[in-house]
């Protein structure tokens, strides 16, 4: 097969779409007014940002404001500098803010992104109590444990919508109902989910939701925190009062508009796009599992993000795998310890119970709408070859 370039790391970041770039361009070059300024060029920027807010709100089915002339309508959508900022604002801002009502307990899961986990750990140092829920082999949080841990002291439950390494989708509605049963609020890190699966914050009972533009072909350095009306947070960034005073700083107009354009495109064509991506991913998984012995699929094979295919291959190590795939033109990622310089493989792979020696051989391939059948054929062949080569060098591999 002829060498080609295949970007199969769409969970890390996605290429900015032409739609998003074109939406951004005039706001980068011509319309440079500061949205806080009184003159027309400033007011137009402010209006454009509020339009972007509405687009985002509509995709999430956020409650729209009654008064269309409202200054920051819809106030439920706060723009941030990325998914991590949204997660930090949601969790730290909520626990430090008045809406936590003095409750001191957070429940989250062992497979959250570090933006959630490390925020929780920092709060533990301040005296908050955090429960990290176990997950099963496929990465679903333990709902029984959640029920047992919930109490009148639980302020917040934060469980991600879909995992970034293995793609497993969590039962959001069930979790929010449990959280609400004790008066706790529910936050979900939907950074991987938005643009890839249906999300309805009202239907699912979501009180706060984080997303990031660059995971659905919008720009880097942009994110959103959806905050249900009535919830009050402590600011993440103090200053000029932008984003209801919670994320101050001159607005990244072009970025916010790019995010909204990409999100609209993703949401309006969700079924069609994700149907296509899922077909590709199914083919990829099938091909790899058939071709490569001693390989294991990780995550939930059914309830998973449409573009995520994740594996472990015995007797090899992931960093080398990625580097050799790169030489062959294929971009992927791994949860191997060696890839990060830490001694442990990814906390997600540990949490789903993989032994260290197997977790080292992990590979995540994440497809997007820009991938083709030919890409998939090429990736299957390339991964098969590279795994074979690395195994032939491995002292643990005995054929």
């Amino acid at each position: 097969m002829e060498k080609r370039f295949v970007y199969a790391d769409n969970a890390a970041t996605t290429p900015l779409s032409e739609i998003a770039f074109n939406a951004m361009k005039p706001w980068l070059t011509e319309h440079y007014g500061n949205p806080s300024s009184l003159y027309r060029m400033g007011r137009e920027a402010k209006e454009a940002i509020n339009e972007a807010r509405k687009v985002v709100g509509k995709c999430l089915n956020a409650a729209m404001p009654v008064n269309e002339k409202n200054d920051y309508a819809p106030g439920e959508i706060l723009f941030t500098g990325g998914g991590s900022q949204a997660d930090n604002l949601a969790i730290r801002g909520f626990m430090h803010g008045p809406s936590s009502k003095g409750r001191k307990h957070i429940i989250t899961s062992k497979i959250e992104h570090h933006a959630v986990l490390y925020t929780c750990e920092a709060l533990e140092k301040e005296g908050y109590r955090v429960t990290y829920l176990n997950v099963d082999k496929e990465g679903h949080v333990d709902l029984e444990q959640l029920k047992n841990e919930l109490s009148e002291d639980t302020a917040l439950v934060s469980v991600m919508a879909a995992n970034n390494e293995i793609g497993t989708i969590q039962p959001l509605k069930q979790i929010s109902e449990l959280a609400h049963s004790v008066g706790a609020k529910f936050h979900t890190d939907a950074v991987q989910a938005v643009g890839h699966m249906h999300i309805d914050v009202q239907e699912m009972g979501i009180d706060m939701l984080s997303l990031a533009g660059h995971k659905f072909r919008g720009p880097r350095g942009t994110g959103v925190l959806y905050v249900k009306n009535g919830i009050q947070l402590e600011p993440l960034v103090y200053g000029g009062g932008q984003e209801r005073g919670l994320v101050s700083g001159t607005e990244n107009t072009a970025g916010f508009i790019g995010l909204a354009a990409a999100m609209q495109d993703a949401c309006e064509h969700l079924d069609e796009k994700m149907g296509y991506v899922k077909k590709l991913t199914d083919k990829l998984v099938k091909g790899i599992m058939e071709n490569i012995p001693y390989s294991h699929y990780t995550g939930d094979p059914v309830n998973r993000l449409p573009g995520t295919a994740s594996f472990v291959f015995e007797a090899i190590e992931g960093e080398g795998l990625i580097l050799r795939l790169d030489n062959a033109g294929v971009c992927g990622s791994t949860g191997s310890a060696c890839s990060t310089g830490s001694l442990d493989p990814s906390h997600v792979l540990m949490a789903i119970g993989l032994p260290h020696e197997i977790a080292h051989g992990s590979l995540r391939l994440t497809l997007g709408e820009q991938n083709t059948e030919e890409d998939v054929d090429y990736v299957i062949e390339t991964v098969t070859d590279v795994v074979k080569t690395l195994r032939s060098m491995s002292p643990v591999w005995e054929n």
Binding site: E317, H360, P395
Partner: protein, 144 residues
Amino acid sequence: MQYSEKVLDHFTHPRNVGEIEDANGVGEVGNAKCGDIMKIYLKVSDDGIIEDVKFKTFGCGAAIATSSMATEMVKGKSLEEALKLTNKAVAEALDGLPPVKMHCSVLAEEALRSAISDYYKRMGKDPAEILGCDADCSACHKAD
């Protein structure tokens, strides 16, 4: 983390990969739990020269590249010279390693010492006298 071109070259085209059927010294260090195991095969001549050397490595790019470079550096050398090889020298020969990857070069040094130790044992000599230790580095090595 940034690998030098030399590391990438030795990783992509590793020298001396494989096994030696009639090896007279074999060493293995690391363990799978730590994600890195290195096995070195030596063919030592009667006058103590490393005639051939091969390796097999389960580990990251740096582990494979240092295995490759270390075996290159000792091939044709006497055992005495080979014992002088440090992980630092291997790393330098590769134009440096990222700080978080220095421990992988330790593995190469240890695997080589372990193989030489095995050779001495097979010759009926006490490796501890020559190496200063019995080269039992097979316990999971620590990052430094």
